[in-house]
């Protein structure tokens, strides 16, 4: 038995030495901001988009002289999409002395981090966690005042798309095919269904699939038999690309709708199949000069693999963070003290209107639950000489 303890003891010793060695003096000149998310593994597409988007803005701020003359130092932590590592990673960042966090990326891990961040009042802005529960806990009726986000909440775009289907497309019968077991897709599907009822649109089929599924013919056949006017596909672009292709092959000809998870779908289905579909988005790619500049700079720095919606919202998230930092610096608070963090939060709360984000040019406005109030952009996909091209349709 003793053997085990001896080993644990020596492991501890080793650890404590590393811990001592690691904790050096903090540079007073920089402001540390953490970026936390999956930078490797299956979810790296989202995690790296967030990381690069945010890093790009911080770099631009530094190039322009920093905040209050101080440089922003980005501390990255890769949690590999694992909840355990997200929590240890967050504490690691806190130990490193960050004053604000961009992240986490996925809802589940983000909420795990929020549970850690709320008690210590660490300001955090997520660019991609869309569930209501990130900023508001229904059970305890707590609003997490330290948490902000630059993306929509699930319910918002789900119900917007139902409105759109009913009012703009005149749909009377709708169907839904969503990924079960994912809070994002499930949240959108439920909000869509609820709003359909409100609008008097009959939901004739609500089908689900599981993660990793590739064959949707069975569900699509059921949907086809119900003969809907629109089919809502609130999933991620890879899955939905496949669904669109299979639906068309099967003979489903009606209009297909999607949520902001569709950004990037044009690479995964043909122009003929996608033409005439609509999806909700936080912004219309390339529609403004700022967006164009962002996209060009992003591709130049990181390639186009990670240029998706989250890169843009992360860029905005970084902007929001910097707005908070400015306020804190203006107040003369000292990094590492409680006041500083509160000052950042207050700064974001009060001054977010000044943040002319690329996905929200009219400035950010946070409601009582810290969710941004911004327009949904409806995109449509056009067949431009055989190339599927997402095109701005309307603000909604």
């Amino acid at each position: 038995m003793k053997k085990i303890f001896a080993i644990i003891l020596s492991a501890m010793l080793l650890l404590s030495m590393t811990a001592c060695g690691g904790g050096g003096e903090k540079e007073a000149e920089t402001i540390k901001v953490g970026i936390l998310g999956p930078h490797t593994g299956e979810l790296a597409v989202y995690g790296l988009a967030v990381r690069y988007g945010a890093e790009m803005y911080f770099k631009q701020v530094n190039d322009a002289g920093g905040v209050n003359g101080k440089m922003i130092e980005v501390v990255n932590y890769d949690d590999q999409g694992d909840a355990t590592m997200a929590v240890t990673g967050f504490t690691s960042l806190v130990d490193d002395g960050i004053v604000a966090l961009v992240g986490e990326v996925t809802t589940g891990n983000c909420r795990a981090v929020v549970d850690e961040a709320y008690p210590i009042n660490m300001p955090m802005v997520t660019a991609s966690a869309t569930a209501t529960s990130i900023t508001y806990d229904e059970e305890t009726k707590t609003v997490f005042k330290n948490v902000f986000r630059t993306c929509f909440i699930d319910a918002y775009q789900g119900s917007k798309m139902a409105d759109f289907a009913s009012k703009e497309l005149g749909a009377k019968k709708a169907a839904v095919l969503y990924l079960s077991g994912d809070d994002y897709t499930q949240g959108l599907a439920e909000a869509f269904e609820a709003q359909c009822k409100e609008m008097g649109v009959e939901v004739v089929a609500k089908e689900a699939f599981s993660k990793g599924d590739k064959d949707f013919n069975a569900q699509l056949t059921t949907i086809m038999a119900a003969n809907p006017d629109v089919v809502f596909l609130p999933n991620y672009y890879e899955d939905d690309g496949m669904i669109v292709t299979q639906a068309r092959a099967l003979g489903i000809k009606c209009t297909l709708l999607g949520g902001d998870g569709w950004a990037g779908i044009e690479k995964y289905a043909s122009a003929a199949d996608l033409a005439g579909c609509y999806y909700a988005s936080a912004y219309a790619a390339g529609s403004t000069a700022e967006l164009k500049a962002f996209e060009e700079a992003f591709v130049a720095a990181y390639g186009e693999d990670y240029l998706n919606m989250f890169a843009a919202t992360a860029y905005d998230a970084a902007m929001v963070v910097v707005e908070g930092l400015k306020a804190a610096e203006a107040k003369g608070a000292k990094a590492g003290e409680e006041d500083y963090k509160q000052a950042v939060i207050d700064g974001i709360d009060q001054n977010a209107g000044n943040v002319k984000g690329i996905t929200s040019p009219s400035g950010y406005k946070f409601d009582e639950y810290n969710n941004p109030e911004k327009d949904v952009v409806i995109m449509t996909i056009k067949d431009v000489e055989g190339v599927p091209t997402p095109t701005y349709h309307m603000n909604y």
Binding site: E42, G181, E207, A208, S210, D215, A218, T221, G251
Partner: protein
Amino acid sequence: MSTLSLIIKQIINALQLGSIFALIALGYSMVYGIIRLLNFAHCDIIMVGAYISWYFMTNFANMPYLAVAAAIFGCTLLGVAIEKVAYTPLRGSPRISLLITAIGVSYLLENTAQLWLGAAAKSVPPFFKVTTLSFMGLSVSTTSVVTIAVVTVSMTALTLLVQKTKMGRAMRAVSEDSQTAQLMGTNINATISFTFAIGSALAGIGSVLYCCAYNQASPTMGSMLGLKAFVAAVLGGIGSIPGAIVGGFVIGLTEVFVSSIGLSTWKDAVVFLILIIVLLVKPTGLLGKQVNEKV
């Protein structure tokens, strides 16, 4: 759509899905039959095949035959290489070591692909123009027709190979009793490699069909597919060719049936439940043979 045509449509869906499962299940079944190894890496061979298809179809879009040939050849080569490098040194080791090695190979392939090609799925351009055939009021996509046809041909060819050729006889002999087969002058190593080659070639065909039907290649695409195909193989009776086919179709039918009655989220659970029940009632699977352990 009338109820009848709906049912027929779903049956066609089940046949398409089931035939892909059956094709992959065959690979598992053959390898298991010959060296009693649950080849976890088999499904990742399909993944590699899909990436090869993707590479050739994006770079040489007008030569789909080249892509097909490359995928099948690449998979065959990979399968044999895995067998030589990872499994041959372990012949005679406990089965658990072999199984863990197989898991290791599977993880290695997946993670290498992820690191090298990124976690995002690659879209594979269509091999042929997909149209919808209308037939007596039924619409069937050409993909389904091609899939079912190719799988039927492959199965027939394989059955002939195993039943009628010398190599097929050697394969059966080795899976029956490798020691005796060796005494009778069968070249065990060659036979095992050949089995891996055939199984992997089938995986190559499977990967092409997969890309036709689902037009995407991603690093983890094989894991669930492989697991289901393995379930199909076990369900039908591992080591048996008709068993793999039956198992594949049973799984396909089950999935489609469960999905079509609106319980698609429980689909995987139902598949595993059926597996567990079958194994408990008949541990050798539906068409498997009882093998007495030598004491």
